[in-house]
């Protein structure tokens, strides 16, 4: 028996020690918080067993009373520690369901009755240690073991759900071990005159209340004495201490094994976390690279578009280029550019891009009627679908590709705070993000800038004509001012000569005045003719030059011949046309003023000169000619040369005294791709 109690105490001490060693592990595993209570339970329970051993041995009779009290105290403490461990296992590892808050309330009445019943049994004549031990086991060991068992069962379920089969099996083993411990340590008690360990006869309660344990039990309701030490020994052949020792060993085994597995799982989880972290870092790095590449692509595209605009490429070409870039940089099934037609107040599709082509709509009119696009135009606000739109809301978004859109991003085209159109992209399933919309807005800005430059180029042509008109008007004004000033002085001179009676000198001065007036008259008439010719640009160069020469001939009396030998288009820029006319006017002015010619021929042809198609104008007169060096006409010649060179042309003047003058002017034609056709976008 002494050996039995020694081994009994050793088993519990082993449980306590093994649990304590697990506490020293690193890491934060779920069970760690509750292990101190289990370790304490084992150590104190082992101490209680060894005290029992000394009591049974009878070797320390002088301290037997103290040992009895110590045993009772250790017994109580062991039960409290087990109860605390069980409560921690049940409640602290995983939160209990909300309805469990009512369990203490529901159990308050049964608990009160049990406490009262327990209290009443203490007044029996039997030794006080018996009810203490019995109620310690019923009220502390039993619920503590049950709670611990249920707690481990919950852990079994939780670990199974996480897929940790090895740990869950160990949790199940520990749970069953504690349930076994609940029976052997909490239910099996010393024989006593009260239930449920033994049943006490009803009749004896009146006269023999709480006499002692030697009462012969008379079973009622079929109950008999059970769950006491003797019945266990009779049934199993082993004393209860052996079974309690087994329960301690089994609990220790499963708890230690479970902690080993937890440690392995913890390490595995740390490795998994590290791998996840590395993977996340790698993904973040790749995402950064991708974002940078995307930003670079967009920057390059926008820079290329800006360069083309700065180089004054045709606005339609720039628009096509923009649409192609949008197709490359954003997922699209359709790209559309529509401009608002102010005359008909409709939104017309001007350019579109599908998976197959990018095209301008030059000869057909497609009116946009989709409500989303029209709303964006009217409200001058961007719009991006979010996937919640259904049905016909995307009708009339895509054209020419037969696809139906399920996502759209729309951006208004704004020119000087006025919305002139919209740019939109559509896709059959990809949903656009706010980032896509921002990029699209930057493209829309480029479209607006390109349109603005196109408008400014048209205005530039008109401005050249207006500037030339202004120059002629200033010349006319300056010339007239000079002549009038000269005439004013001459009149005063005439007055003086008249007073002095110098009739011959008076006639000479009058003759000079007449010549000056005639010259000024001719100049004014020429300038007026120049103005009319400049204004007549809309009629075409041939008609304008022909009309000018005819009028020149009438005014000056010089016979003019004009030959226009160009078939087809002139292929000159508008500025070059203006300069050509000005050069002609300057040359004819020189003819009028200095050549004393009878006839002047003007020929305009197109020929290759220095391997470039050029317009060749030749002005030939039969006048007196002039010496190239030191000529009074050098300023006018310089002006002609500057005009020609301003449009990449050249001048050649040939003249000799007495042999007339030939003025030849070459102006380069526009290349085929530079031909100034009418823009589809700007009309």
């Amino acid at each position: 028996m002494i050996l039995l109690y020694f081994l009994y105490g050793l088993a519990f001490e082993g449980l306590g020690l093994a649990t304590y060693l697990q506490l020293r592990r690193e890491g934060d595993f779920p069970l760690k918080k509750e292990l101190p209570w289990l370790a304490a339970f084992g150590i104190v329970g082992g101490a209680a067993g060894w005290v029992e051993m000394f009591l049974v041995s009878g070797s320390l009779t002088e301290v037997e009373n103290a040992l009895s009290i110590l045993r009772v105290a250790l017994h109580l403490l062991t039960g409290l520690l087990l109860l605390r461990f069980g409560w921690g296992m049940l409640n602290n590892l995983d939160p209990l369901p909300a309805w469990s808050i009512f369990i203490p309330g529901i159990l308050i009445v049964p608990i009160a009755f049990v406490i009262t019943y327990a209290s009443t049994t203490f007044i029996t004549p039997s030794p006080i240690e018996i009810p203490i031990e019995i109620w310690t086991r019923y009220l502390l060991y039993l619920p503590g073991s049950l709670l611990a068992g249920i707690g481990f069962m919950r852990q079994w379920y939780a670990q199974r759900k996480l897929g940790l089969q090895d740990v869950s099996n160990l949790m199940l083993g520990a749970g069953l071990a504690f349930l076994f411990e609940a029976v052997v340590m909490g239910l099996i008690v010393p024989a006593a005159p009260y239930g449920p360990a033994s049943y006490y006869n009803y009749d004896r309660v009146i006269h023999n209340a709480f006499i002692g344990e030697s009462i012969e039990v008379q079973p009622t309701y079929g109950l008999s004495a059970w769950l006491d030490y003797q019945s266990v020994l009779n049934t199993t052949g082993l004393p209860i201490e052996i079974w309690r020792m087994f329960s301690a060993v089994i609990v220790m085994f499963f708890v230690v094994k479970a902690l080993d597995v937890f440690e392995a799982i913890r390490k595995r989880q740390v490795l998994d976390l590290q791998a996840d972290r590395d993977r996340a870092q790698q993904e973040a790095f790749e995402a950064q690279i991708q974002a940078r590449i995307t930003a670079e692509n967009w920057t390059n595209a926008l820079a290329n578009i800006s360069r083309r605009i700065a180089e004054l490429e045709h606005v339609d070409d720039i628009l096509v280029y923009i649409v192609k870039n949008i197709q490359k940089l954003l997922p699209t099934n359709f790209v559309g550019v529509a401009i608002h037609n102010q005359e008909s107040s409709v939104l017309e599709l001007k350019c579109h891009g599908t998976n197959d082509e990018v095209r301008l709509l030059a000869n057909e009119t497609i009116v946009i009627q989709n409500s989303l696009i029209l709303n964006a135009m009217q409200n001058s606000s961007s719009y991006c679908s979010n996937g919640s739109e259904t049905g016909k809301v995307f009708d009339g978004v895509c054209f020419f590709n037969g696809q139906h859109a399920h996502a759209i991003a729309i951006v208004p085209l704004k020119l000087e705070n006025t919305t002139i159109g919209v740019l939109w992209i559509a896709h059959s399933d990809h949903q656009y993000t706010d980032t896509d919309l921002i990029w699209l807005e930057s493209m829309a800005d480029q479209v607006a800038i390109a349109i603005q430059h196109g408008l400014m180029t048209s205005q530039l042509q008109s401005l050249s004509i207006i500037q030339e008109r202004g120059r002629i008007a200033r010349e006319m004004h300056d010339g007239l001012a000079q002549v009038l000033g000269y005439l004013n002085l001459q009149v005063q001179t005439l007055g003086s000569l008249l007073n002095q009676g110098k009739t011959e000198k008076l006639q000479a001065e009058l003759l000079q005045m007449r010549q000056a007036i005639q010259t000024a008259h001719a100049d004014v008439r020429e300038n007026i003719l120049s103005l009319r010719t400049t204004l007549a640009q809309e009629k075409g160069l041939e008609a304008a030059v022909d009309e000018y020469l005819t009028e020149f001939g009438i005014q000056t009396g010089i016979r003019t011949r004009f030959s226009y030998e160009i078939n087809g288009d002139l292929d000159l820029s508008s500025i070059a046309e203006v300069q050509l006319v000005c050069i002609l006017q300057e040359a004819l002015t020189n003819v009028r003023k200095h050549a004393k010619a009878n006839c002047v021929d003007v020929v305009i042809t197109k020929a290759d000169h220095r391997n470039i198609a050029q317009i060749h104008m030749q002005i030939m007169d039969d006048g007196v000619g002039f010496s190239m060096a030191g000529s009074r006409r050098s300023f006018g010649l310089q002006t002609m040369r500057e005009r020609a060179e301003s449009v990449n042309g050249s001048i050649l003047i040939q003249s000799n005294n007495g042999s007339g003058t030939i003025v030849e002017c070459w102006l380069p034609c526009l290349q085929p791709e530079q031909l100034q056709k009418q823009s589809v976008v700007i009309r």
Binding site: W99, F102, V109, T116, S119, T120, V205, A209
Partner: protein
Amino acid sequence: MNVREWALPVYTILMQLAVGSLFVLWLIRSFSGSRFSHRDIERIIQNPMLVIAFTAVVAMVGAHFHLSRPFHSFLAVLNFKSSWLSREIVFSISFFLLTILLLYFTFFQMHQRTIITILGWVAILIGIVLIYCMARIYLIPTQVAWNSTTVIFSFYVTALMLGCMAIACLLVLDLKFAEIKKSDDVELRADVIRYSFTGLTGMTLLLVALSFIIIYIQLRLLSQGDQIARTSLDLLLQLYLPLFIMRLTFLLFSSGYLGTAVYQISRLKVTPQSLMMPVYISCLLIMVGEIIGRFLFYATHIRVGI
């Protein structure tokens, strides 16, 4: 005592608990009408009503175990005109049925406020009569220790004391539950506790004082009684003295503990959720004290004659 003997304390305690709880709950319901909306109050009393009905059911079931032939219990109602026991059973059944009906209206006919009010007060009236019948069973000359009007008063005091503590415990548990579930009426429940707990605690303290007075009177009566009365007194003060002291200690401690906690709520603005431990401990100790008292009531009587 064996199982059959314990069935009587179970039945009487639980039935008095049910009656007392219903009375206290109805007082709260009536006085809260001016401060809270009817709908809120009806919602708050649902869970306590469920517990009261369940307690009445358990009491009715437990009552059968003190009979030697439980399946013949229906025969006990046949002597209503002459037997307090029959009257007790009839009024028990009536109270039980009214409680079940009240439960139905509370959960499924919440809008029928007038009917609920009337039903509640009728059930309380039946319960009051029931407790009187319970007590009158013991007022017979052969049961010397029981033959005193103090028994009637002690039964009523027990009922009210248990009712106060049970309702207090249920309100706090409900609040805790609502908090865990993140319900939208947490503040409402806390307000009801703040509003009602001062009254509940005051009533409990008053009832504990009344208990002591009744105990003193009973001891005086026993000491001044005949031989059998004095034998009962000796049993109480000798064999059962530890239990008697336990009872008094539990009553005093729990009332002091609860009073302190409620004072902190009202003065220091501590949240009502912190009342859970003091209310539960106090409720448990008062219940243990009253069950011990009922055990002593049965254990100390000496029967005269057969």
